[in-house]
């Protein structure tokens, strides 16, 4: 648990962080967000004392951070930054092992931990252990940076715009990985970004700062549906609010029973229906194509949705592939349900999804 109490930072008489108080429970993914100069990075860096605080208190699991020797404190807190900050003269394995080495773990334990973390971030240890940072792609380097931050199993992980310098596609992959790693490790994370979509994709709590002050501290859905003031409303952006909401909702909240096509009489169907193969995997769709409603179309892999997929992504695929329904499959690829355009509209109207998602 991280508690900020009346946290203030003054530079030359100017309060760049002004009386910020919030509590982040253990295992939560907290995102500090706001326009440039709002004090979000400063707030983050006061937690591991890279920047000394001027007033207030920071408690990690009840310990006042200013009461601990600073190096000892930082070894308890993982730290990942935008430009990775990997040590260019050290191999990937040695970079990941930075904090365990400082803590003088035995070599065998360090080696095991490095392999474990590289596997967690889907970097094959055999291939990547002995590579140097300059031999990595941006996404790989960033994974190593986060792996290094997690190496000594810290109580808290601080991340300062870690995905700010990678291309949008890699960023989404890294975000998905971060969600998975957070779910697997249950770490308490404080994450700084200026990108609302990134915050919505990751956060369990969002703290919106402006001019050094905490404007709203809320769960993502509540912030979207109930912004505290005009600044929050403006920062979230009104134009695609609907889509932003859908990015916090998941297919399993919207899916409905899939209708299987009858053996014969496909041409007389009044509604679309699915054909499955011997293993129960969706193979074709009768009807439901926007361009030719009567056609029977083979199911493309890109259509297939999973219960964990965000509704934003499902909707995007429907629009892109011009199909009004997607098959939803289980882990083995068997058809379990479908999700369709009418579903998106229907549930949105009665507010059921809002309850379900929050």
């Amino acid at each position: 648990m991280i508690e900020l109490q009346g946290l203030t930072k003054t530079y030359a008489g100017k309060r760049v962080v002004d009386d910020v108080s919030l509590t982040l429970q253990s295992g939560e993914f907290g995102v500090l967000i706001g326009p440039s100069g709002c004090g979000k990075s400063t707030t983050l860096k006061m937690i591991n004392r890279l920047i000394p605080l001027s007033e207030g208190r920071i408690l990690i699991n009840g310990d006042d951070v200013t009461q601990l020797p600073v190096e000892q404190l930082r070894r308890r807190i993982g730290y990942a930054i935008q430009s990775t900050g990997l040590f260019p003269h050290w191999s990937v394995a040695r970079n990941v092992a930075t904090v365990p080495q400082l803590l003088k773990w035995p070599k065998a334990r360090i080696d095991d931990r490095v392999d474990e973390l590289m596997t967690l971030f889907q970097l094959d240890p055999a291939e990547f252990r002995d590579k140097y940072p300059h031999q990595l792609s941006g996404g790989q380097a960033q994974r190593v940076g986060v792996a290094r931050a997690l190496a000594a199993d810290p109580e808290v992980l601080l991340m300062d715009e870690p995905f700010g310098a990678v291309d949008p596609l890699t960023r989404e992959t890294l975000q998905a990985e971060m969600r998975r790693v957070h779910a697997q490790t249950g770490k308490t994370i404080v994450f700084v970004t200026h990108d609302m979509d990134e915050a919505l994709a990751l956060a369990t709590r969002i703290a919106l700062l402006n001019g050094g002050r905490l404007v709203q501290y809320e769960r993502p859905i509540e912030m979207l549906v109930d912004p505290a003031d005009d600044f929050v409303r403006e920062f979230i952006g009104q134009a695609d609010l609907g889509l932003k909401l859908l990015s916090r909702r998941f297919v399993h909240q919207y899916q409905r029973r899939a209708r299987l096509a009858p053996e014969t009489g496909l041409e007389r169907l009044d509604e679309h229906a699915w054909l499955v193969d011997a293993e129960g995997r969706p193979s074709a769709l009768a009807g439901a194509r926007l361009d030719d409603a009567d056609a029977i179309t083979r199911v493309k892999p890109e259509w297939i949705a999973t219960p964990e997929m965000s509704m934003k992504e499902a909707l995007s695929r429907m629009v892109w592939y011009r199909v009004t329904a997607l098959p939803v499959v289980d882990r083995d690829g068997r058809l379990i349900a479908e999700v369709g355009m009418p579903g998106v509209m229907g549930i949105e109207g009665d507010g059921a999804a809002r309850e379900a998602a929050s």
Partner: protein
């Protein structure tokens, strides 16, 4: 270029470099020990000279004395220079940076002959005033490159080192110095090469070096002596330079 091709190209270049270095070292040792074997050659080249081979001292003695001068003065330059460069890049010494930089620059603008002239009345003739002059003269490149080398360490790398819980010493030893080493060594290389050349003027105040036959040749109008001294000094400088180049390459990352 593929990684494999780049690697094999680099290996080939390194191999050629090694061969050059080995051959030149052999030549240097050979000439130092066997200069007297070349007496017929010098006699043929300079038929007017009665004494075409410098023989008041062995070239081995002169070479060892020369290397001794360079070694001692460079050791002083490097330890003082690196220490000063480190000091002015730490938070405690940052305000001294302009002063140290200009002091070192002034050391460089003094002609070594002038420093010798000042040092002789203070330290007498011979080894000591030469060491003072050479040490002062070699200081600037070391200080400059130590400051520049530490400056090449990216701020993000330093921040990551701090954020991961390294102490100031650990950051210096494990991160800053290894990353700055290539540039620092380049400074030492310049300093040592300058000193190999400049050490010859030590002979004007009585310090034994490869400058001794050079000066004797200039004074006595004996071109053969000048060539013999200059040849060995030049070769020593080239061999040392190549050796430093190999050392620098070890500290290239990415």
């Amino acid at each position: 270029m593929s990684v494999a091709a780049e690697r094999s190209g680099r290996l080939r270049r390194a191999a050629t470099g090694n061969l050059t270095l080995a051959l030149l070292t052999l030549l240097l040792v050979g000439l130092t020990l066997g200069m007297s074997q070349l007496e017929p050659l010098f006699r043929a080249l300079f038929p007017d000279l009665s004494q075409p081979l410098y023989s008041r001292d062995s070239f081995l003695n002169l070479m060892l004395a020369h290397i001794g001068l360079v070694l001692v003065s460079s050791l002083i330059s490097v330890s003082v220079g690196v220490a000063a460069g480190l000091f002015v890049t730490r938070p405690a010494g940052r305000e001294f940076e302009p002063m140290v930089s200009s002091l070192a620059a002034i050391g460089q603008t003094f002609p070594p002959a002038a420093v010798l002239a000042i040092a002789v009345p203070l330290a007498g003739f011979g080894f000591t005033p030469t060491i003072i002059a050479l040490s002062l003269y070699g200081l600037l490149p070391v200080i400059q490159n130590t400051i520049a080398g530490l400056g090449t360490v990216p701020a993000s790398t330093r921040e990551a080192a701090r954020g991961n819980g390294m102490s100031a010493w650990q950051i210096l030893w494990r991160v800053e110095l290894p990353l700055a080493m290539r540039v620092i060594i380049a400074g030492v290389r310049v300093s040592v090469i300058i000193n190999i050349g400049t050490a010859t003027i030590g002979s004007t105040v009585g310090a034994k070096s490869l400058g001794t036959p050079l000066i004797a040749g200039l004074v006595g109008n004996n071109l053969a002596y000048v060539i013999q001294g200059a040849l060995l000094v030049g070769l020593l400088a080239i061999v040392t330079d190549l050796a430093f180049e190999r050392l620098e390459r070890r500290y290239t990352f990415g």
